[in-house]
Symmetry: D4
Subunit: 159 residues, 8 copies
């Protein structure tokens, strides 16, 4: 788990990209008083090192009709089925996050659905995977916070 | 909760941006055989309608030394403190997600930390917020899935 | 708790009213080959004895925009507050049923709301009653059965 | 889920029927200063639209010897059995309500019985349904509230 | 469940026997100013009516080397096995009480054992009964009260 | 905790008394071919040593109108209140057994009541004791076993 | 379970060895003003009686890269498998303690691992043992106390 | 958390000390064909580096009259009291291990006591610490494994 060494220039480039992934490299270059080519090389290197894995669009799911969020705890019949079950879960697009966890659940998922009825269908898809023994659902009444930018800035400030 | 009407061109633009938020508008234009100006106008409209809320960088937190993920269930003394507590939680950068939930917890958070010791510190920060009565933590042993792209594609395919 | 004695005619009148509370007494009289006056007297007597407490309309709450059903378990700070809390709960029209229960909850309620957001508001109304310590919510994904007619027929068949 | 449009006259008719399902249409007509025929047509239309699904008699179950109320949480072996189990539950007249739920139970029922011994029999009937894995029972010590009229009035007042 | 009618003399006889089952009938007779024969007849009648089912010696189990008390909750695989399992439990002399219960357990037992090690053996005997799925044990740290005499006196005072 | 030494004669006397506390000493003497005086002396000695603490009548509580049995788990605010709370519990005649326990409850009680309504009153009496924080109730659907005689015989056979 | 009788000299020898198992017998002899031979004989006798079972090195596991401690509760399919499962657990060196317990778990283990990922592997090893039905893990955020010396001194002071 | 570098000689010395902390350095020297002085220097260095923190005697607690082991989960009123409570717990010699944990408990302890009664006293000592809100106890029916030697050997074999 040897860490890739990021220098101050890298940090500043990342800081700008975190705030807006679509910022042109020429803007970054101007701000940091370096050449656009340098920005390009640095970003490429961070991508090759696997530090930047990509970028994702932040959509308003409520406006798209997907206002329902729930967390689903999954109990397996045998932990040896974990890999197989995770592959099946991966085929359900409404599951956006899945973790192997400690505590009472074997796998813990986050789902997004249109409404109560659709959520029931998604939960039943998970329940019907071979090897899934039981599920327990906790429903979100409000997504009050969903923001990794504060974390990213904090990481680079502390480095 | 009236839904903004997206047409087929909008969907195709979104599909391309979902896969790569940094794709140049000229590339989108070429692919969809429309002008770059049209792409620009459409994206602007979707941003103004609040459907596109922004974009975020996907970093490899493990490589950045933040390999520890946990879910923290928060019990409040009184639900009337919910708003106040969420504001305090919002000040802790290591909390990346927070929901008001049904079930046994009042608030349910996701945290990222460097290691067990750092996680303890973050949990104690939450525990020390006025109005927080108790917390319960579930630790992720592996983040097996964290991907909203499949959901986004599924939404536009079903529209 | 001495039981009012219902005879066979009473049972048959009740059986017809259970199926349709609006059935005219003359129809009941014709069917049972008794006078409409007798039906009237019998029903009056059952009302006075408190056996018939009234009648209620069965509406389709989904069509009225109230599709969300949840069960809310309430923990009190002291059971001596039970009566006071139940009076406050009684002022919230979205709570349709409330029981004092054994097991982990002190009071157990059924609520109907418009959607997740409205449900949150209703739950917060309960949470904010003085003497309520905490609540736990279980959400209905589908109301599969809500029918007392089978019970009523069974009671009169077994009498 | 397009909502049937109810106008003010409909609301007022419903308000009167909610309070007494047996009120003659001529009384409603007189009160609202419309013809009895109009009342008839309006009610018919609301029945055809499925908004009015019927009416039910409110009996005093205690006086009929059915004083015992319990909530029974049902765990299934597989959620694919949900439909089958609900059909079996539907054959037990002592189960008056059944929901598919989130949280720890798959199905959640309300039962009415004569006494502890009879409740045991009813619970055992549920337990013996094929596909039912386990049940958990919570007993009502007092039905403090069971009233949908406040909700109905609130719905029409808020429309 | 028609109740046998006990008169005041019966109550007073029971009151004396409750305090000391070995009190001679002549002493009771003298105290109540009736004949010993009457006492005899009354006690016989109460035994035949099944009100008096017998008497039991109160031993000091600690002094006999059986200081360990535990409550064992039993989960069954199927409730249809309840009768069979209770018969097997009945063959273990260290189980002194067993109930069919509501809540999370199917059967709830009280056991007395010599010490931790012996308790483990007794719990394993229960666990090994066919149809028993799992058990959960709660250990008594002190038997602070075990006395039905107060109840008996209260019953006769309230009659 | 030195154990009083019981010899074979003591065991045989106890065995007879266990089966019937009212058996005359002359019958015991005849059966064991010893003098009635010896029986008297032995019993006296066992009473003085505290091994025999008394005897109790076994009544049919169902026939006496006390058919309802429940177990009540008590949570205290502070364990330092244990002694005080147990003294208050001791004043409620419907509580027949109380233990200080491990696991989630501080004190665990057995109660007998007339019916659901009376049980509610008894539970509320416990809930209202100063220092009691919360209670959880588990209801007995059937008392399948309540017999210490098998244990007593087993003890003397194993000695 | 007859206790070996330790005299005052034995206590003092043990007290010194508890503080430092490597203390030379000649040092103990000098301090207690007895011969080294006597120390040797006494220690031998305590070893033969099984009171001293050995000695163990106290290493700093954090410095050795094993900073992760967790408690794992194990549920078995049948308690008759307890012995077999414990033998398999005994083959996993990362499990340092295992108990048969009351309460919800059948077996309760303490594990030490390198980090979250390694802990997952160790937990999966336990999960994969035949007869293990499910496990639940609780993670240590800090080992605040691990010291039997205070207990040992207390035992000898109280003897 | 930089790791001290142990070479092969260090490993072999540790391996021998793990099996018997009292093995003379001359024996180690002979076995590894190095001088006793070298052994001495190496051990000293490992002690100074904090890798070897000491050694502890393994006594048979059963034979010493301390056969009762329990795990006690502690809930605090506020996590800010953690440090204070741990200092108080540290004053109770019967608590041999204490961890700050994730999951439902704030602190998790292991205790050793003479018997049920003594365990009650120890649990009450913990319960009476200021800031302790509640405790939950799980009792060990058998200590099936308590051995860190397998772990130590495994660590050095894997290095």
């Amino acid at each position: 788990m040897a860490k890739f060494k990021l220098d101050d220039i890298d940090h500043q480039i990342l800081e700008m990209l975190i705030d807006n992934t679509r910022v042109p490299f020429t803007d970054i270059a101007k701000k940091l008083v370096i050449s656009a080519g340098t920005v390009h090389v640095r970003v490429k290197k961070m991508e090759e090192a696997g530090i930047i894995k990509g970028s994702s669009l932040t959509l308003d799911y409520k406006k798209l009709g997907y206002a329902f969020i729930a967390y689903v705890g999954v109990f397996l019949q045998k932990t040896s089925q974990t890999k197989f079950v995770l592959e099946r879960i991966n085929e359900i697009p409404y599951v956006t996050v899945a973790h192997i966890t400690t505590g009472k659940f074997n796998v813990f998922c986050k789902i997004r659905a249109k409404n109560t009825e659709h959520a029931k269908d998604v939960i039943f898809m998970i329940d019907d995977i071979e090897g899934v023994y039981r599920t327990e659902t906790m429903i979100s009444l409000e997504e009050s916070l969903n923001d990794k930018k504060r974390l990213m800035h904090s990481i680079f400030n502390n480095m």
